[in-house]
């Protein structure tokens, strides 16, 4: 294994991680809810009266973050290498998978591990292993 020292950004990664932890702290301490993005979004597809507003607000915050970032500095440009077919397949898999698995990188990976949940540890190891495997097959076997 070789490290990509040019791409590795430990300090911004740590700083961004602290912000993500702070966001999870705000949501659990003020709202009493887990900052699991797939769960917050999925809950809107099964709407319960009185349990909708905060979900929409959280998602609006996520969508508005690039706008807020631009107030302070220029937003790094985004490049998505996946083609449209791959994006449709990826979206379907992420949508179905996170709902069956009761969480994603935020709900299991950040909040669940913070809570020392064994269930979330299993989920996190599983989705990371699947991610490693798919990237290995795509990049090193099919070379795309």
């Amino acid at each position: 294994m070789t490290l990509d020292w040019n791409a590795f950004t430990p300090w911004p990664a740590l700083a961004g991680g602290l912000l993500i932890g702070l966001a999870a702290a705000i949501l659990v301490l003020f709202n009493g809810r887990i900052a699991g993005i797939s769960g917050i979004l999925g809950g809107l597809l099964r709407p319960v009266r009185g349990d909708i507003g905060w979900r929409i607000a959280f998602i609006a915050g996520l969508l508005g973050a690039p706008l807020a970032y631009r107030v302070f500095q220029a937003l790094p440009s985004i490049q998505v290498d996946a083609g449209y077919g791959a994006l449709v397949a990826a979206g379907l898999l992420v949508g179905v998978g996170t709902r069956y698995g009761s969480g994603c990188t935020s709900g299991h990976g950040v909040c669940g591990l913070s809570r020392l949940s064994p269930r979330s540890l299993v989920a996190t190891i599983t989705f990371m292993a699947a991610g490693f495997a798919v990237v290995f097959v795509l990049r090193h076997i099919f070379r795309c």
Binding site: M1, D4, A7, L14, A15, L18, I20, G21, L22, A23, A24, A25, L27, V28, L29, F30, G32, A35, S38, A57, F58, I59, G61, L62, L63, G64, A65, P66, A68, L75, P76, I78, Q79, V80, D81, A82, V88, A90, G91, L92, L93, G95, G97, R99, Y100, G101, S102, T105, S106, G112, S114, R115, V122, T126, G131, A133, V134, V135, F136, L138
Partner: protein, 138 residues
């Protein structure tokens, strides 16, 4: 107030994804590509987030109500079952395919990236399919 704190949490979460680089699929795929030149940044993001989250959930676990008086809704499930593992496998495959998970997909949508629109619509479709399959369960 509940809505305002949720908005703030979403905003801070999204800023964290941008600052850490995790809103950018190339950065995430650099972590998932163990056999290529490996970028361990994502592990540092997780470490930073859990360092704060650990203390927040310690505090939250002792409370009956949130600081705003809302009911504490922490997950009660403790069983590791087939649904959890199978769902996580599907999610991980989709994550590796494009480098997007739900949060970064939404933030990239907020950047106006057309490919993120496609990803998020497909993700919502996937969630709708889950709801339909759940309704058919006996």
């Amino acid at each position: 107030m509940i809505v305002l704190s949720a908005l703030l949490a979403g905003l801070v979460f999204g800023l964290g994804l941008i600052v850490s680089g995790m809103a950018y699929p190339a950065k995430v795929l650099g972590f998932l590509d163990l056999a290529g030149p490996w970028d361990p940044s994502l592990a540092f993001v997780m470490a930073g987030a859990i360092a704060v989250g650990f203390f927040a959930f310690q505090l939250a676990g002792k409370r009956q109500h949130s600081l705003l008086g809302a009911e504490m809704r922490l997950p009660a499930a403790s069983r590791t079952d087939r649904r959890l593992v199978a769902g996580s496998v599907l999610f991980g495959m989709g994550w590796g395919l494009a480098g997007f998970c739900p949060g970064p997909g939404l933030v990239a949508l907020g950047m106006g990236e057309p490919k993120a629109v496609v990803f998020v619509l497909a993700m919502l479709a996937g969630m709708v399919i889950f709801e339909l399959l759940e309704k058919r369960r006996p």
